[in-house]
Symmetry: C2
Subunit: 255 residues, 2 copies
């Protein structure tokens, strides 16, 4: 092998596994949780180990969309993100699907070298060492209305994997009283983590119509109900926030 | 003077100046800025050194309402707050009018002894030593559309008074391009402080009709415009948030 060939074929790059990408878009603002209102670029990975009844991102979950999920290297992803941001670093929001099933360590390392930082949201069904490299880890275990069952041991492993440097928070979507009771349970199991409650959206986008109108009155009425519950129960440690992007843009994708 | 009389008239209480209170309500959630979504009790003081063109709390600003502002001692205020929270501590939001013109040091000291902490919002026209005792200080200097002129020296004095222990943030209401340019100026003067941008509400409550409907479409369209501006300018350090309480409850007071 000549020195030239060694330069051209970077073994580090060959070792980098590709990541299945459903969409990359932004900059826009984060619409939910701990970073609400902050400019970000979204990197949505394809594939999920869950199938929530009210999933609002089926295009990144349902394997019928698998052909739309492009395998991309960390280099190619960072190049695209830097085009979107004009090269200026910001916080990249890693979402899905469940981004924890993707090999994201190399991407995070590469992005950090270029000044970016990374926030990730996952249901907490799979812990990864590289959670400790995130700036923010949002664990969003799914309440009973989702039809999913929480593995509490796995969730605790995610908290442990993130360690002390990463800011770890809980976020629970609430549709009804049972979901609310579940959120109280989560808070009891992880009393030291900030917890965000988010009223559920009963009108997730149908897979073929991103412009479907949302039930704004329903969301706002659930928001009022949730605030009443939290304040009546004097659950002052919780934070109640809607999905801001849904209020602003409805179910439109790519914003 | 008998020992009994000395006990009955507590000299510490006599020394405590009374605070002019417009309203105390909650618990509800904070609808704006750094503590958005967090449960709080609002303590709104009466009186203001500003008169912004679009003021949405004239009942705490216009001296025509002066007779509604009750002078209360810190003891009486804390008693009322503890009734509202069932004695459970939370973050009290001090607002106005301009709460900085009130003697709040004793209230903060008393509340802290009982486990409460205090967040305050002011336009930054008057610095007080006790800013250093707050958990959060929101400085909300008023942009050109308000009709007010910012005293930059006074604003900097407020930042200095809060010191390092208090979490100090800027929050700017934006109605138009001139306001946006003003916000960029503020960010340039205080680059190390988190800055929140908030689309203005063109439909503040008339003084006699708290239920007046709001221009939701207008607020949302200004929100989209503002997000476009921030992301186009790659102003990734800013945070863009609407007044959540206005979206949830309109201009209704006491929520």
């Amino acid at each position: 092998m000549t020195p030239l060939a060694m330069t051209a074929v970077n073994p580090v790059m060959l070792d980098e596994p590709t990541i299945r990408i459903s969409e990359i878009f932004g900059p826009t603002i984060q619409g939910e949780g701990a970073l609400i209102g902050k400019p970000t670029v979204f990197l949505r990975t394809g594939g999920c180990d869950y199938r929530c009844s009210w999933c609002d991102t089926l295009h990144a979950v349902d394997s019928a969309h698998r052909h739309e999920w492009l395998p991309m290297t960390p280099q190619a992803i960072m190049m695209q993100i830097e085009v979107l941001t004009g090269g200026k670093p910001l916080t990249v929001s890693l979402s899905g699907g469940n981004p924890a099933i993707q090999p994201l360590a190399c991407l995070i390392e590469l992005g950090q070298k270029r000044g970016f930082d990374f926030a990730l949201e996952t249901q907490g069904s799979l812990a990864k060492d590289w959670f400790a490299e995130l700036s923010v880890l949002t664990l969003s275990p799914k309440p009973p209305s989702s039809g999913m069952t929480t593995d509490w041991q796995r969730l605790a492993e995610c908290v442990d994997a993130a360690g002390r440097k990463t800011r770890t928070v809980m976020k629970i979507v609430i549709f009804n009283d049972e979901d609310y009771a579940y959120a109280r349970d989560v808070a009891g199991r992880h009393p030291n983590l900030p917890l965000y409650l988010q009223p559920g959206n009963h009108t997730p986008p149908p897979s073929r119509d991103d412009n479907a109108s949302i039930d704004l009155d329903g969301i706002m009425s659930r928001m009022r109900w949730l605030i009443d519950k939290v304040t009546s129960d004097r659950w002052f440690e919780a934070t109640v926030l809607p999905q801001l992007h849904t209020l602003i843009w409805g179910n439109l994708r790519g914003v």
